[in-house]
C-alpha cells in the first residue's frame, strides 16, 4: 500500500499510475480505496459506486486521455486472507495519445504505460456499473466477464453470454463451480484434477 510521495516507494513507484492517482485524488477524493504504485502490477483500487465517474475522468482529462479499455478481467476470492468473500474486477486502460517519455521504456520493472483499476465487489452480489458507454470496446469484455465469472454489469440494455451457450449452468471460472453431470443429455466427465 504505497502513498504518493512516500520515500520508501517513491524510487520504484510507477509514474503512470501515480499521475492518474493524483488526478483522481484531486477530482474524486472518495473514489479511491487503495493504491499500489510499485511492484510488477501497480493498480488503483476504486469504489464500484464511483467507477463510472472515475472512468469518465480518466478518459476525458486532457492530461490522461485513457481512450481505450484494453481488458476487463475478474478474479474470484471466495476465502480471502482478510475481509469478506469478494470478486475483483480489474480494468486495464491504455492511452495512445498521452505517452510517457522515452526514458520510461527502459525503466526497470514496469515499463508498459497501462493503467490498472481494481474494483472489489462482494461475492454474494457482484454488481458493477457498466463502462460500455464510455468505451464501446468494453462491451464484449463485460459480456465475457459475466459469462465466465458471473459479474453482473448494471446499466446495460442486455447482458447476454458470449462464449458459452445461454443455458449453460453457472459461471465456470468461479472457484466453487462444479461440473454438471450432463448437458442436454451429453454426459460430462470432468478432467483429472478439476
Amino acid at each position: 500500500m504505497g502513498e504518493v510521495g512516500d520515500p520508501t516507494t517513491a524510487a520504484t513507484a510507477d509514474p503512470v499510475t501515480e499521475r492518474a492517482l493524483t488526478a483522481l485524488r484531486a477530482a474524486l477524493p472518495d473514489a479511491v480505496v487503495e493504491a499500489q504504485l510499485d511492484g510488477a502490477h501497480p493498480y488503483i483500487g476504486v469504489r464500484a459506486t464511483h467507477l463510472r465517474a472515475v472512468c469518465r475522468l480518466l478518459r476525458d482529462d486532457p492530461a490522461l486521455q485513457y481512450e481505450c479499455c484494453h481488458l476487463i478481467s475478474a478474479v474470484d476470492w471466495p476465502e480471502p486472507a482478510e475481509g469478506e468473500a469478494r470478486i475483483d474486477v480489474v480494468y486495464h486502460l491504455v492511452s495512445y495519445a498521452i505517452r510517457p517519455d522515452a526514458s520510461y521504456r527502459t525503466r526497470p520493472g514496469k515499463n508498459d504505460p497501462y493503467l490498472a483499476l481494481k474494483v472489489a465487489v462482494p461475492r454474494a452480489c457482484p454488481e458493477v456499473p457498466t463502462v460500455m458507454d464510455i468505451w464501446i470496446g468494453a462491451d464484449w469484455h463485460e459480456r465475457e466477464t459475466w459469462d465466465l465469472m458471473g459479474v453482473r454489469f448494471t446499466g446495460r440494455k442486455e447482458l447476454p453470454r458470449i462464449l458459452l451457450p445461454e443455458d449453460w449452468p453457472g459461471h465456470p471460472l468461479r472457484k466453487d463451480w462444479v461440473y454438471p453431470a450432463s448437458y442436454h443429455g451429453v454426459p460430462i466427465i470432468p478432467p483429472e484434477g478439476m
Binding site: 481512450e67 484494453h70 480489474v90 497501462y114 462491451d139
Partner: protein, 405 residues
C-alpha cells in the same frame, strides 16, 4: 464510394435515419411506390469460406447491402482460462499455442514472460535472442498467411498458394527446432527448449532471402493490382476514434493512424535493442487511413521489418546456455502480473494472479487480439456490400481459436 445498383433509386447506404435500422420498404422514399423490397437475414457462417473458422455473423441485408450485423462467437471455446487455473504453470504453455494457432511462438513467448515475471526467473541472454528470432519468424509466417488468405477472400487464388511455398520453408525451420509444424511448445519457462545450430541459422538466412525476394511478387499480384485496389480502397474504414474505442490493436490499429507498437513503445523481452520501423497508416499510400488496403499494406511492411529484426538478432546472438534453472514443481510467490506483447494480429495480454505455494495460477486471463478486433465490425460493416464485408473480415485477419479461446 460505391455506386448504387439501381441508379434512379436513392442509395440505401446514405441518408438513412440515424440509429436504428428502418425496414427498407417502410422508408419514406419507397412508400407508395410499386417497388417492394424486404430485408433478408443471412447467416454467414459458422461454415462459410470467408469467416476464417467458425465465426457466425448474422447479417441483415437490403439486397447486397449490409444494414446491420451481429457476430456470434464461442463455437470453439476450449476453456483456456479454466485450464490455466487447473494445470501447473509449465503445463499451460501448450494451451497458449492453441489459442492463436497461427502465431504459437509469439503466444508462448508472452505466456512464458508472464510466468517468469511472476516467479522472478532469469532468462539466459542467448535464449532471449532465440525467442526474438522464433517469434519474428512466426510473425513472418503469420503475415504471409494473412496476405495470401486475403487474396483468397478477394477471389485471387494464386497468391495463396505462392505464399505457402515460402511458409512451408519457414514451418520446416521451426519444425527442425521444435519438432512440430504448427504448435511448438518450444519456448519454456526460463528459456527455450533446444539450442540453434549454425546449420539452422544458415537455413534461416536462406529463408529470409527467399521471403525478401518473393514479397514483391505477391505485391504485384495483390497490392499493386488494380482490381485489388478497387476492392480495398476506402472499404471498411476503421478510423482512429473507432479503432481506439473498440480496443482494436495490431496492424488494424496502426492502419488507423495510431503509431503504436508494443515492441517499440512498451518494450518487452529485448526488443529495445533492435532497430526497426513501425509502419502506420497514412493518407499518401492510396485509399484512406484505416481502410482494408492500408491494413494489408501494413502487414506487407511488417514482414520486411521482421526480416530486419531477425537479421539483427542473428548477428547479435551471444554464446551461452539457453535454458535457465527452474525448480521442479515451480511455485511462484504470491502476486499478480500483467504482460502485453505484440502478436501478429495485435496485442496479446496476459493477466495472471498467483496466491503463492501453489503450482497452479489462481487466475490466468488472456486477451486475444482477434477478440476485440472482430467486435468492431458491428459498427464498421453497416452499409457495406456483402463482398466488402468479406474484404473487411479478411483484412482484420482474425483467428477464431483466439476469439473463443
Amino acid at each position: 464510394m460505391s455506386a448504387p445498383l439501381a441508379p434512379d433509386l436513392p442509395d440505401p447506404t446514405r441518408g438513412g435515419e440515424p440509429g436504428g435500422v428502418v425496414a427498407f420498404h417502410e422508408r419514406q422514399e419507397y412508400v407508395g411506390r410499386d417497388v417492394r423490397t424486404e430485408e433478408m437475414v443471412f447467416n454467414m457462417g459458422p461454415q462459410h469460406p470467408a469467416t476464417h473458422g467458425v465465426l457466425r455473423v448474422a447479417i441483415k441485408t437490403d439486397g447486397e447491402y449490409v444494414r446491420a450485423l451481429q457476430p456470434h462467437v464461442g463455437n470453439i471455446h476450449r476453456c483456456a482460462e479454466k485450464i490455466g487455473e487447473s494445470v501447473a504453470f509449465y503445463q499451460w504453455i501448450p494451451y497458449l499455442d492453441r489459442m492463436d494457432y497461427l502465431s504459437a511462438m509469439c503466444n508462448e513467448h508472452i505466456g512464458c514472460m508472464a510466468i517468469e515475471r511472476l516467479g522472478e526467473i532469469e532468462v539466459p541472454e542467448r535464449a532471449e535472442y532465440i525467442r526474438i528470432i522464433v517469434a519474428e519468424v512466426q510473425r513472418i509466417l503469420s503475415h504471409l498467411m494473412a496476405i495470401g488468405v486475403y487474396g483468397l477472400d478477394l477471389g485471387a487464388f494464386t497468391p495463396f498458394l505462392h505464399q505457402f511455398r515460402e511458409r512451408e520453408r519457414g514451418m520446416d525451420l521451426l519444425d527442425h527446432l521444435a519438432g512440430g509444424r504448427l504448435l511448438y511448445h518450444y519456448v519454456r519457462i526460463g528459456g527455450v527448449k533446444r539450442d540453434v545450430s549454425q546449420d539452422w541459422l544458415d537455413e534461416l538466412d536462406a529463408f529470409l532471402g527467399a521471403v525478401e525476394q518473393r514479397l514483391p511478387e505477391y505485391n504485384t499480384l495483390l497490392l499493386h493490382n488494380r482490381i485489388f485496389q478497387e476492392r480495398t480502397f476506402n472499404v471498411g474504414v476503421i478510423d482512429r476514434a473507432t479503432a481506439v474505442a473498440w480496443g482494436v490493436t495490431g496492424p488494424a490499429l496502426r492502419a488507423a493512424g495510431v503509431d503504436f507498437d508494443c515492441r517499440r513503445d512498451a518494450p518487452y523481452s529485448i526488443y529495445d535493442r533492435f532497430d526497426f520501423e513501425v509502419p502506420s497508416g497514412a493518407s499518401g499510400l492510396g485509399g484512406q487511413v484505416g481502410d482494408c488496403f492500408q491494413r494489408h499494406w501494413i502487414r506487407v511492411r511488417e514482414v520486411e521489418e521482421s526480416i530486419k529484426i531477425v537479421r539483427q538478432a542473428v548477428a547479435g546472438l551471444p554464446e551461452g546456455p539457453v535454458l535457465g534453472r527452474v525448480p521442479r514443481g515451480f511455485k511462484p510467490p504470491a502476486g499478480e502480473v500483467f504482460i502485453r506483447g505484440e502478436n501478429p494480429r495485435g496485442e496479446l495480454s496476459i493477466y495472471m494472479v498467483s496466491v503463492g505455494k501453489s503450482e497452479q495460477a489462481w487466475r490466468a486471463r488472456c486477451r486475444g487480439p482477434s477478440f476485440s478486433n472482430i467486435a468492431c465490425i458491428t459498427e464498421v460493416a453497416e452499409g457495406l456490400l456483402i463482398g466488402d464485408l468479406v474484404a473487411l473480415i479478411g483484412s482484420l485477419d482474425i483467428v477464431l481459436g483466439e476469439v473463443d479461446r
